[in-house]
Point group: C2
Chain length 405, copies 2
DNA sequence: ACGACTTAATTCACGCTATTATTAAAGCCC
DNA sequence: GGGCTTTAATAATAGCGTGAATTAAGTCGT
């Protein structure tokens, strides 16, 4: 039950938002398209679009020939109306990327961090360094930056100031937003990295067109982003979707979170490698890091029965975990992502589908397709960059929240 | 991203909806209260309330004395503006209940059904019989009935016409809505029984005030209703929340759904009784039906170590299951309900909380309280009856969708 | 009993917004 | 160039919420 009053300005802001979002997401469109697809009258569309053009948010982008009649002028979001920055705070590196509103990457920089429990201060310093690097490299002014989105691989607790709990980074209640705000006046949007990746796939990847989707991400950690009604599901404190630490096997293998039987203790990259090592009677899996060890495992599937068994089991566990998501969230689409998810999914997707079918209820399973992601792992920064844009769109392109005359 | 245009009438409808919902849910309120709590101007409130009174939706309900000043006149939803019917299609009976808009029960009737796979036709006949019985008993006209809400213990797939998949009833793709529409012109609202119960608890019970809550229901079956942002989470085809058939114990006990290791196979009433029988080395648990057998188990906890062990295990499994809900949905409240849930919860709640704490991530667990429901099991019909009301409230009290002059 | 004071509800001019109908613009085709 | 088609802008109209002023309905002190 919504309890927001509606005033006359609300109306305009909302229609601005509807039109702006449509132009942004569905590419160049004519005023007519907007009128028919939104149901607004042509007059209103013209009126609102006029405002948007005047505000510099939208530009006319050429005309399209017609078969007898005035050619329709196409509209698009002005790519340079503003710039956005996406930051990916992963377990092994901090990536800072600058985009324009057409989501063209203008500059990118990576800062590797040593995996052993990076200092929050170091990460913050990397972010600031990255900010000044990308603005310098693209020769743009900070004033043109609409906002900075930051995807962190851990629980991001939204409150007045976002706080990060990331067991994999060794962070417990790190006041990342406060630390960042101390060094910049740019609008900040912190969020869980899985959620930003889901956002990216939703707008530009495998989630397009779906209203209810779950993005299941397998990497060193295991997480999920749930989108419902086109909007990321957050829950009370924005930590919803912690799929990796749901119990799949009561009293089972110990997990690094301290509990037993978590999904991550079976299908997290580390867990898969551990299980393969066990299957090899304790002989270490060749490879410098988890990523190459997983590659080894997949490469040996042709020759080693043990590797095949480990992969089969992985698909079964993963399928059961996906079935849980399907039963609980009833999505129309489950998208498998994360670096390990992509590596495994390419080979195991049919087996995962079979296992999910065996564990999920028929009706919700029949509603859901299970697919691979389309954007790759680096989309965390892209998705983070969409956060300030999402805010701009819902606000109807009005940057200042309120003004006092 | 919402894509609904907003027109001038939308505004009024929305404000009608906001005010009407507030008056309905937060009891008698003065116009002033409405103005301050919604942010609308007093003039607008007066204006809209005037319309609502004229339409017969709202009535003035006396005045409240003041210490110097005009006394405020309180407003309430007119209890007899319309009547609603709630139907509970359970595994053992069909209940039909008639309410006014103050949710006062005006008439109730139960039709027992023999547990062995009841015929859909029989259930439909019971519903029609119940409808004519309650209208007769309360001496009201069918024309005064706003709508009929029907809570079914099974998956209700919403489409053009709701279809029911209820393994416990032996129903597979039963076109219940079509069958009902053939016999009545009343607006129908079919939904899963757990969801209607959650709705009832949300409006009148343990969920009041929460924006994100999960209602975990334990009976013969195990299910959950998820409320997010004050609204029931449905997913793509409205079957979200099938908690009972999530895998808790990979490759564990067989479940009646065909899979193995489902939560229901551990904490469903039948499963608990089975586990107790196993603990008694196969000796049947005394009791005529599941309900009395569970009572027996609880009664013997004082004397029998086996009973205690079974209950402890139940609390642990249940806690792990609740932890999964907390990790995935990040609610501020988890409400334990269902007849078995109530019976067990009274004794096991502390143990369940401990087990949930052990399995959930710290941060989301700290955000969530775990409580018992307040309304009892019979609230399914009450919750079903709220469905037509919820529609009325969101529509701002406008019954006909559109009129042609 | 009367006036001062307080609080609640209504009225009305105003500005904002979308709608429908109408007009202008811009091109194609014969 | 005139007729036709499609797109965009303009004008007249009506709905809606706001804010200030006004009316309504009491309490309290003297």
């Amino acid at each position: 039950m919504q309890l927001e009053r509606a005033t006359n300005r609300t109306l305009r802001r909302r229609n601005r938002s509807v039109l702006l979002a449509k132009v942004f997401l569905d590419g160049p469109l004519a005023r007519q398209d907007l009128a028919t697809s939104t149901g607004l009258s042509q007059a209103a569309v013209s009126n609102v679009v006029g405002d948007l053009i005047e505000d510099g948010l939208v530009t006319e982008a050429g005309t399209v020939e017609s078969d007898g009649g005035r050619p329709r002028t196409m509209l698009q979001v002005a790519p340079r109306f503003a710039l956005v920055v996406g930051v990916d705070v992963g377990e092994t590196r901090v990536r800072v990327e600058l985009f324009d509103l057409a989501m063209t990457p203008l500059a990118t920089v990576d800062y590797p961090i040593n995996p052993g429990q990076p200092d929050p201060e170091t990460v913050v310093a990397h972010i600031f360094a990255g900010l000044s690097y990308v603005t310098g490299a693209a020769a743009v002014s900070t004033a043109d930056i609409l906002g900075v989105g930051i995807g962190v691989s851990g629980v991001v607790e939204q409150g007045r100031q976002a706080v990060v709990h990331a067991q994999t980074l060794g962070w417990e209640g790190v006041e990342l937003e406060r630390m960042l705000r101390a060094g910049t006046d740019l609008p900040l949007h912190l969020d869980n990295g899985a959620k930003t990746l889901g956002q990216a796939e939703m707008w530009f990847g495998a989630g397009r067109g779906a209203r209810h989707a779950v993005f299941a991400l397998i990497g060193s950690g295991v997480g999920a982003a749930v989108v419902t009604g086109g909007v990321t599901y957050r829950g009370a404190s924005s930590s919803a979707g912690e799929w990796g630490h749901t119990t799949l096997c009561y009293d089972g293998r110990p997990c690094r979170c301290g509990a037993r039987g978590c999904l991550e203790a079976y299908v997290g990259a580390g867990a898969i490698i551990d299980r393969y090592r066990d299957a090899r009677r304790g002989r270490a899996v060749p490879g410098a890091d988890e990523e190459s060890q997983i590659t080894t495992l997949l490469a040996q599937a042709g020759s080693s029965a043990a590797a095949r068994r480990v992969l089969d089991e992985t698909a079964s566990y993963l399928g059961a975990g996906v079935a849980n998501l399907i039963n609980l969230f009833n999505p129309e689409r489950v998208v498998l992502g994360g670096w390990a998810g992509v590596a495994l999914g390419a080979h195991l997707l049919p087996a995962i589908r079979r296992a999910a079918a065996a564990h999920a209820l028929r009706q919700p399973f029949a509603q859901a397709s299970i697919e691979l992601c389309r954007l790759g792992v680096d989309a965390v920064a892209l998705g983070a960059a969409t956060l300030p844009i999402a805010r701009l769109l819902t606000a109807g392109g009005i940057r200042e929240p309120s003004k006092i005359h």
